[in-house]
C-alpha cells in the first residue's frame, strides 16, 4: 500500500555513505537475487509452539509460513489456486472435496507427501488432544478423509462449507509430515516438519528460531517470485519485544527485517533511505470494540447507536497512531473477499445524534459528574481490554472514553491479566470488549456474529452475542454456495445487517508492517492469504 522508496536509484551511493558512517564492511549491492547468506528477522511476539495446528495464535502462523506449504494458495483476488493440491472437485452438495495432489514433493524428513499425509494432517487438527483453537475450530464441519489412491484424498464435511478452500490457504492449516506429527507434542512444537522452503533447526526460547534452507525445495506457491530453493542459507527469526529496540535494530542494520514497525517510527522509517517499509492490511474483522447486546445498556439498539455516534475514532486514530492507521468503518476489512464499501461511513462522529438517541432511550437526566442516569442508574459500560494492549491502543481507548463522556457515557477501562480477562469474557461480564479476527474469508462474519458461537457461558467467538435469525440464514446460504456472485450478494446483505445492528465500534484494520534494511536485504514480501511476512523470495544483498 506504500509507494516504494523514492531514493531507490541513489541507493548504492547512499549505502556507501552509510557504510562509512557505521563502519560496516559493505561490498556492493547486487541488483539480481543472490544465493546464500544469513537473514536476520525480528518480530515482537514469540510463539508458544511452532506447530500452528496447536493453539493457533498469529506468531505461530508467521513461522509456519516459512516452514510449511499448504494445499491451496490464494491469489490477490482471494481465489483459491493450486499449491500442494494440483486440482480439486467439489461435490454438488458442497460437502465433499476431492483433492488431487502433487506427486513429486517430500517432507524435509524424507517422508513422501501424499493422500495419507493429508488425512493425517486433518485428523491431527481436529483431534481434541492437539488442543487446537484455530485450525480445529475452522474445521468444525470436518468428518473424515478417505484415501482414494496414493495421491487422491477425499474430505467429507457434515454441511456445505464454501469457506473451506480459503481456510486451507492459511498457514494455520499448513501441511506437516505425518511421521513428525506422530512424535510427542513437545517435539513437534519445537520443530515441526513441512515441505516448505525453510527447515526449523533450533528454537532458542526467548531469543530466536534458527531456520535453514530446504535445499530440495520444489513446491513454491503460485504467488512466489522464483522457483527452486530459497535464496538465503539461513534465517535467524528473532524476538525483540520492545518496539524502540526493535526499530533501532533494523535502523542500525543489526537486523535485516522487522515486523510490527511501531506507528510512531513509521514516518522516520519512510524518510530513512536505508529502510524500505512494506505495509499491508489483513483480511478479516477489523480491530473493534464489541458491544455486548446480552445485557444493559447495550441490549437497547438506540443506546448502541448512540455509543457509535459518540466515538470520535478518526480524530483518535490521527493523534494516537500519527495518521498511519486508516479508519475501518464496516464489519469487514477492505482486503477481505466480498467486502462491501457501503458501510465505511455508516457511523461518523455525531454527538448531536448520540444525544438525541439517548434522550429517546430514556437516559435524559445527568448526574453531578455529567453522566446520564435513568431510574437512579448511571449509564456505564465496562470495557474489557486485552492484557497485552499496547500503550497506543490504550490511548485510543482513552480517547473513545473521553468523547463518550461528552454525551454522558461512563466508560470504565478494565485492564486485567489474560486469564482474568478470559474468565470475565466467558461469563459475559463486560459491555465492551476489544478484539479482531484475522482470516481470509467473509465467513469471519459467521464466526464473529453467528448465533451458534454466542454460548452464554463458555468460550465464544461471538463477543457481541448477536442473535439474528436473518443473519444465520444468510451465513448458511453463503456457505452452501460456491457461486461468487451469490456469495457477494449474501455476504453483502450480512454486512448491511451487521452495520445497521450497531454491534461493533470498528476502529482500524489489522496490519502487517515490515521495515527492511534495504542495504542488506531485498525481496521480503507479504503473502496474500493473511498478509504474513514471507521470506522465500528474500535475498541477502550485501554483507
Amino acid at each position: 500500500m506504500k509507494p516504494p522508496s523514492r531514493l531507490l536509484l541513489a541507493l548504492p551511493l547512499l549505502l556507501l555513505a552509510t557504510a562509512c558512517g557505521t563502519g560496516e564492511a559493505t561490498t556492493s549491492v547486487t541488483a539480481r537475487p543472490a544465493q546464500g547468506g544469513t537473514l536476520t528477522y525480528a518480530t515482537d511476539r514469540e510463539p508458544t509452539c511452532l506447530d500452528p495446528h496447536v493453539a493457533g495464535d498469529m506468531p505461530q502462523a508467521y513461522v509456519a509460513q516459512q516452514v510449511l506449504d499448504s494445499l491451496v494458495a490464494l491469489d490477490a483476488k482471494g481465489r483459491a489456486r493450486p499449491w500442494l493440491a494440483t486440482s480439486w472437485d467439489i461435490a454438488k452438495d458442497g460437502r465433499t472435496y476431492t483433492f488431487h495432489l502433487r506427486r513429486d514433493v517430500r517432507f524435509t524428513d524424507g517422508t513422501r507427501f501424499d493422500a495419507a499425509a493429508v488425512k493425517a494432517n486433518f485428523d491431527h487438527m481436529v483431534d481434541p488432544d492437539t488442543q487446537s483453537g484455530t485450525a480445529g475450530g475452522y474445521l468444525a464441519p470436518y468428518q473424515r478423509t478417505d484415501v482414494l489412491d496414493a495421491f487422491t484424498a477425499r474430505v467429507h464435511l457434515d454441511r456445505p462449507y464454501s469457506p473451506f478452500l480459503n481456510m486451507l490457504a492459511q498457514a494455520f492449516l499448513g501441511i506437516q509430515s505425518p511421521k513428525a506429527l506422530a512424535r510427542s507434542k513437545e517435539a513437534n512444537c519445537a520443530a515441526p516438519v513441512g515441505t516448505g522452503p525453510f527447515i526449523v533447526r533450533k528454537w532458542n526460547r526467548q531469543s530466536d528460531v534458527v531456520l535453514v534452507r530446504n535445499p530440495r525445495y520444489n513446491s513454491p506457491p503460485p504467488y512466489a517470485k522464483h522457483r527452486g530453493p530459497a535464496y538465503a542459507d539461513k534465517v535467524i527469526w528473532r524476538f525483540i519485544p520492545e518496539p524502540a529496540t526493535r526499530f533501532a535494530a533494523v535502523q542500525s542494520g543489526q537486523v535485516d527485517v522487522i515486523d510490527a514497525l511501531p506507528p510512531e517510527d513509521q514516518r522516520t522509517a519512510e524518510h530513512d533511505d536505508r529502510l524500505k517499509v512494506v505495509v499491508r492490511d489483513r483480511p478479516g474483522n477489523p480491530t473493534n470494540l464489541a458491544l455486548n447486546t446480552s445485557r444493559a445498556p447495550f441490549d437497547d439498539l438506540r443506546v448502541r447507536k448512540a455509543f457509535l455516534y459518540s466515538a470520535d475514532v478518526a480524530d483518535g486514530l490521527k493523534s494516537v497512531f500519527f495518521g498511519q492507521y486508516r479508519r475501518a468503518g464496516g464489519p469487514l476489512s477492505y482486503v477481505t473477499p466480498h467486502y462491501s464499501d457501503a458501510h465505511e461511513n455508516a457511523w461518523p462522529y455525531d454527538p448531536q445524534k448520540a444525544d438525541s438517541l439517548l434522550d429517546r432511550a430514556g437516559w435524559r437526566e445527568r448526574d453531578g459528574d455529567g453522566y446520564r442516569v435513568k431510574n437512579g442508574v448511571r449509564l456505564t459500560a465496562e470495557v474489557l481490554l486485552k492484557s497485552d494492549i499496547t500503550p497506543n491502543q490504550l490511548a485510543l481507548m482513552e480517547q473513545v472514553q473521553a468523547t463518550a463522556k461528552d454525551v454522558g457515557f461512563q466508560l470504565k477501562l478494565l485492564r486485567l491479566d489474560a486469564a482474568s480477562v478470559n474468565t470475565r469474557y466467558q461469563a459475559g461480564k463486560y459491555d465492551l470488549r476489544d478484539g479482531y479476527w484475522n482470516t481470509n474469508t467473509p465467513d469471519v462474519l459467521h464466526t464473529v456474529f453467528g448465533s451458534e458461537y454466542a454460548a452464554r457461558n463458555g468460550i465464544h467467538s461471538n463477543a457481541t452475542y448477536a442473535k439474528d435469525p436473518a443473519l444465520d440464514k444468510l451465513f448458511r446460504a453463503a456457505q452452501a454456495t460456491t457461486d461468487p456472485d451469490e456469495q457477494q450478494r449474501l455476504y453483502g446483505e450480512a454486512q448491511r445487517l451487521i452495520s445497521a445492528g450497531a454491534y461493533q465500534l470498528t476502529l482500524y484494520p489489522q496490519t502487517t508492517r515490515l521495515a527492511a534494511h534495504h542495504g542488506s536485504v531485498r525481496g521480503a514480501a507479504l503473502e496474500p492469504a493473511l498478509s504474513l511476512p514471507y521470506l522465500y523470495d528474500a535475498w541477502v544483498s550485501s554483507r
Binding site: R205, A248, D417, S420
Partner: protein, 317 residues
C-alpha cells in the same frame, strides 16, 4: 560456652531450606488457583481470538488435570515435586527443567555482573566522596539518591539510545557474549549502587567516628588509607546484608531489563508463565529463585564471619 554440634546446625539449615521451598511451592499453587482466570483459553489461542470446539476445551482441561478438585491437584502437584519432576510447561510445551537450563545461564551472568558493577560503583562513589568535605559528601550522597530512584526501563532505554543507537559501541539487542552483557548489567547496577552506596556511606561515617580510627590517624595513617583499610571493613556489613536482598531484587528487575534488551532469562520466562497461568513453569522458577535466595543468604552469613571476626562462632581459646 558450647555450640550445638555441627550436624545439628546443618540439620536446622536444611530443614529451614525445605520449609522455604515447601512454602514457595504452596503459595505459588494457591496464588495461581485463587486468582480468577481460566488457563485453558489462554492456552488455546492466546490474543488472536480462537474458536476451539467443546471437545478440544474438555481435552485440554483434562490433559492438565484442571478438571480435578483443588486438593487433588495440590496433592499431585506436591507429589510430582517430591519426586523431582518439575513437569512440562503448559505454555512453552517444553520440560520445565529444559526451560530453566536454557534461560538460567543468561540470568546468572547478568545478576553476577550487575552485582559486581553495583559494588564497584557504590564503593567508588563512597570512597571518593566521604573525605571531600561537605560539598563532596553532599554531591556523593545526592548522586546515590538519584541513582537509587532511577527506573530500570528508562535507564535501559537511555543507555541503549546513547551507547548502542548513537555511538554504536554495543549491540542494540540480545548481543551475545560479554559485550552484550554490559549495558543490561549497568542498567541493573546503577540503581542498586545507589542503595548500596547510601547504606555504606552511613556505616562508613559511623566507623570514621570510632576511637580506632582516631588512633590510626594519630599513628600517621593517611586519610585515604584509613577509609579504605580500616573503616571500610566496618562499613561492609550493612551493604553485605543488603546484597542478599539485592539478588532477589535483581531477579525481579531483570523482567524489565530482559525485555528491553531482548535477552533470554528466567525473569521474562516467569512473567510470561504467570500471565499464561503456567503452573509447572511458575513453580519451577519460583523454587529456583527460592533456592538461590537460600544459598545467597547462607553465603552472606559465611561472609559476615570473614569480614567481621566478632560474628565468628566463639572458639575455645
Amino acid at each position: 560456652m558450647t555450640t550445638p554440634p555441627l550436624y545439628r546446625r546443618i540439620l536446622v539449615r536444611v530443614a529451614g531450606a525445605a520449609l522455604v521451598l515447601w512454602a514457595a511451592a504452596t503459595v505459588t499453587f494457591l496464588a495461581l488457583h485463587l486468582v480468577p482466570g481460566d488457563p485453558v483459553l489462554v492456552l488455546l489461542g492466546g490474543g488472536s481470538g480462537a474458536n476451539p470446539t467443546p471437545e478440544t476445551i474438555a481435552a485440554t482441561r483434562h490433559a492438565y488435570g484442571l478438571d480435578q478438585p483443588l486438593y487433588v491437584q495440590y496433592a499431585q502437584h506436591l507429589g510430582r515435586l517430591l519426586t523431582g519432576d518439575l513437569g512440562v510447561s503448559t505454555s512453552l510445551k517444553e520440560s520445565v527443567g529444559t526451560v530453566i537450563t536454557e534461560q538460567l545461564p543468561s540470568t546468572l551472568q547478568l545478576t553476577a555482573l550487575a552485582l559486581l558493577f553495583a559494588w564497584a560503583i557504590g564503593a567508588a562513589v563512597v570512597l571518593l566522596s566521604t573525605g571531600k568535605g561537605t560539598v563532596g559528601r553532599a554531591l556523593g550522597s545526592g548522586l546515590e539518591t538519584v541513582a537509587a530512584g532511577l527506573p530500570h526501563f528508562w535507564l535501559g532505554v537511555v543507555l541503549l539510545y546513547v551507547f548502542a543507537f548513537r555511538l554504536g559501541w554495543f549491540p542494540v539487542a540480545g548481543g551475545t557474549g560479554f559485550v552484550g552483557l554490559i549495558l543490561p548489567a549497568l542498567t541493573l547496577a546503577v540503581p542498586l549502587a545507589g542503595y548500596l552506596g547510601q547504606v555504606t556511606r552511613v556505616a562508613l561515617l559511623t566507623a570514621l567516628d570510632q576511637p580506632f580510627v582516631t588512633s590510626a590517624r594519630l599513628r600517621g595513617m593517611s586519610a585515604g588509607a584509613v577509609r579504605a583499610r580500616r573503616a571500610l571493613r566496618h562499613a561492609l556489613l550493612p551493604p553485605l546484608t543488603l546484597s542478599g536482598w539485592a539478588v532477589g531484587a535483581l531477579f525481579s528487575s531483570e523482567v524489565v531489563v530482559e525485555a528491553v534488551f531482548a535477552r533470554q532469562g528466567v525473569g521474562r520466562a516467569l512473567l510470561n508463565a504467570v500471565i499464561a497461568r503456567d503452573l509447572p513453569l511458575v513453580t519451577g522458577i519460583v523454587l529456583l529463585i527460592a533456592t538461590v535466595y537460600v544459598l545467597v543468604n547462607l553465603a552472606v552469613d559465611l561472609l559476615y564471619a570473614v569480614v567481621d571476626p566478632r560474628v565468628r562462632t566463639p572458639r575455645e581459646i
